[in-house]
């Protein structure tokens, strides 16, 4: 716009810098704190300059919270959740859009209604299902046929238990559905004319065309998976399957000695880094995924 507005420009920069202090300031405090010694971090007023103590603090946090294991588990968990969501939602959307099956409305609404059932409101019974996966089927079979079957599969303390209950996704399914709707009808017609069946059409045309959607979905779902808190907290009791969000509690400074917040902050910084890198490096995709899934 061709207009000279020096005061408004100065005010704009003032606002943007204020926003920077509010939103990025906490990161700077975390970084500064994570690099200081025990004496430095407990001195008032706080010094915002980073010091050289980060590696010592990080290795102390690494050992105290068993971060190697937790980070490995979190990568497995976030990775499985992401792949599961990206694959299963594409398949469901394909079934909803490309077949005139009488069940497609049922599929759509079955997925849609899950939006209204967040984990927090069904946490106990979901835990029960995870503890005994086949219970619903056993009861159904007993109800329908009167036969008692005794199969049990306990998901607690396993990667399956960490991921399976979190893989169903309404937002992902809608994202694909919306994308498939915008594709021209001629595409499927042409494929059919050339003799391709639905399965081949799905794998060789739809999936390659959905590449941007998949990448966008992958970024937001990875962040989602990494940041899961309540579910792992409830179902993991075996430290072998501990995730990073659970190791946060091991990082809390003890009340009895001088609080070593430098170690805590170093550990927290390590835990924050993977999703932060995804959002920073793949921001274009991340933003696209966010805007698209909420529409």
């Amino acid at each position: 716009m061709i207009q000279r507005t020096p005061y408004a420009d100065a005010f704009t920069y003032f606002v943007m810098i204020l926003g920077f202090i509010l939103l990025i300031g906490p990161f700077l405090v975390i970084i500064a704190g994570a690099t200081q010694t025990l004496q430095q971090i407990n001195s008032v007023p706080f010094r915002f300059m980073p010091q050289g103590q980060f590696l010592e603090n990080a290795s102390a946090a690494w050992a105290r919270a068993d971060l190697a294991r937790a980070i490995g588990n979190s990568f497995v968990m976030a990775g499985l959740i992401t792949v599961g969501k990206v694959v299963l939602s594409a398949m469901t959307a394909f079934a909803i859009v490309y077949f005139r099956s009488p069940l497609r409305h049922f599929f759509f609404w079955a997925v849609f209604i899950t939006l209204m059932l967040p984990l927090e409101v069904r946490v106990v019974p979901t835990y029960n299902v995870a503890a005994d996966m086949f219970e619903p089927f056993r009861l159904l079979i007993a109800f329908v046929t009167g036969i008692e079957v005794s199969v049990e599969w306990n998901l607690l303390n396993s990667y399956a238990g960490l991921t399976l209950p979190l893989i169903a996704t309404a937002t992902g399914t809608f994202l694909y559905r919306q994308f498939f709707m915008t594709l021209p009808d001629e595409l499927a017609e042409a494929a059919r004319m050339d003799g391709s069946g639905p399965v081949r059409f799905f794998f060789e045309m739809l999936l390659p065309l959905s590449r941007t959607n998949m990448l966008a979905l992958t970024t937001i779902m990875f962040v989602y998976g990494w940041n899961q808190y309540l579910w792992p907290l409830l179902m993991v009791t075996d430290p072998t399957y501990k995730t990073t969000m659970m190791s946060l509690s091991a990082l809390v400074p003890s009340e009895n000695a001088t609080p070593d917040w430098n170690v805590t902050l170093a550990g927290t910084l390590i835990i924050m880094t993977p999703p932060l890198l995804v959002v920073a490096l793949l921001q274009r995709w991340f933003v696209r995924g966010l805007v698209a899934t909420e529409k």
């Binding site: 507005t5 008032v44 940041n227 509690s249 921001q283």
Partner: protein
């Protein structure tokens, strides 16, 4: 809204949808039915089958002052959190939309807090806003007890709202910035020709045209405040509901009632009420959003 050209097969769509349907049935609907059953039944304290008690569990929940306390806390948390995030996001989006040199960098940075999990942010803010350190320590030295979330309920509530707002401001920023991009440039240019300055243009043209986005964010953020995963995580990792139940939001109450109090029926009744609330929000959101989405 249907495709003209579709494939004919009976069992293929079922096969393709089956994996997700199975997960949805096992981990959403089966548990939801259990919640419904528990809400209307009560397990006798010394074993035996659960008996149907009608609305007794709801009456018990609704006559419990602690429950109403959690409702109040949730309303304050969601409303204050929502308004703060939308306000910050709006002001920053208006500033960044002016496309001054360097605003691209700010735009990149503002989104970063959204990557951080609520509990991890809570951990860091326990240090950043600690009453014994940093800015708060200096203020406390001047006015004793100016800021002490461990002691005062109102401070603790403000504390968790700050963490929520910090994380979600970048999210509202993304949507409002995208909304501003679609405001026709001709409108703002015409206003500039008529002699209105940038602030006047923002208030009289850009913000009114953002009304749909603002309304959408209002609904989304209210839902997030009431039942979002971060709401539980932030509270659990920082104040743990205290001091004296001052930060006990509804989701925290439900999880606490179930796993600490082992009162499944009470927790189920609370869950049903919350699901009703979510349904209202979802209904508003989709009535409104469906009108915004157009397929070619």
């Amino acid at each position: 809204m249907d495709k003209r050209s579709v494939f004919k097969s009976v069992w293929l769509p079922i096969l393709f949808a089956a994996p997700q349907m199975l997960l949805v049935f096992l981990f959403f609907y089966w548990p939801a039915v259990a919640v419904l059953r528990w809400a209307f039944t009560l397990e006798p304290p010394f074993g035996g089958n659960a008996e149907f008690v009608g609305f007794a569990n709801f009456v018990e929940v609704l006559t419990n002052p602690l429950y109403w306390n959690s409702v109040m806390v949730s309303v304050i948390f969601a409303l204050a959190g929502t308004l703060t995030t939308i306000f910050i996001g709006l002001v920053l989006a208006l500033a960044a939309d002016r496309q001054l040199p360097g605003s691209g960098l700010f735009r990149f940075l503002y989104i970063l807090p959204y990557a951080i999990a609520g509990p991890a942010a809570g951990m860091a803010f326990r240090f950043i806003l600690s009453p014994e350190r940093g800015i708060a320590a200096s203020l406390n030295a001047m006015w004793p007890d100016f800021w002490n979330p461990a002691k005062y309920g109102s401070h603790a509530l403000i504390f968790v709202i700050i963490i929520f707002a910090w994380k979600w401001a970048g999210y509202t920023f993304i949507f409002l910035f995208a909304g501003l991009q679609s405001v026709p440039k001709a409108l703002t240019e015409a206003a500039a020709m008529d002699g209105s300055g940038p602030i006047r243009r923002a208030i009289d043209i850009q913000v009114p045209l953002l009304a749909p986005t603002l309304f959408f964010l209002l609904v989304i953020m209210m839902t997030e405040g009431f039942v979002g995963a971060d709401t539980f995580g932030i509270v659990h990792r920082t104040t743990n509901g205290g001091p004296n139940h001052a930060t006990e939001v509804m989701v925290f109450g439900i999880v606490n009632e179930a796993f600490q109090g082992l009162n499944y029926s009470g927790a189920a009744a609370q869950s049903i009420i919350l699901i009703g609330l979510i349904m209202v929000f979802t209904f508003i959101q989709f009535r409104f959003v469906e009108r915004r989405v157009h397929y070619k």
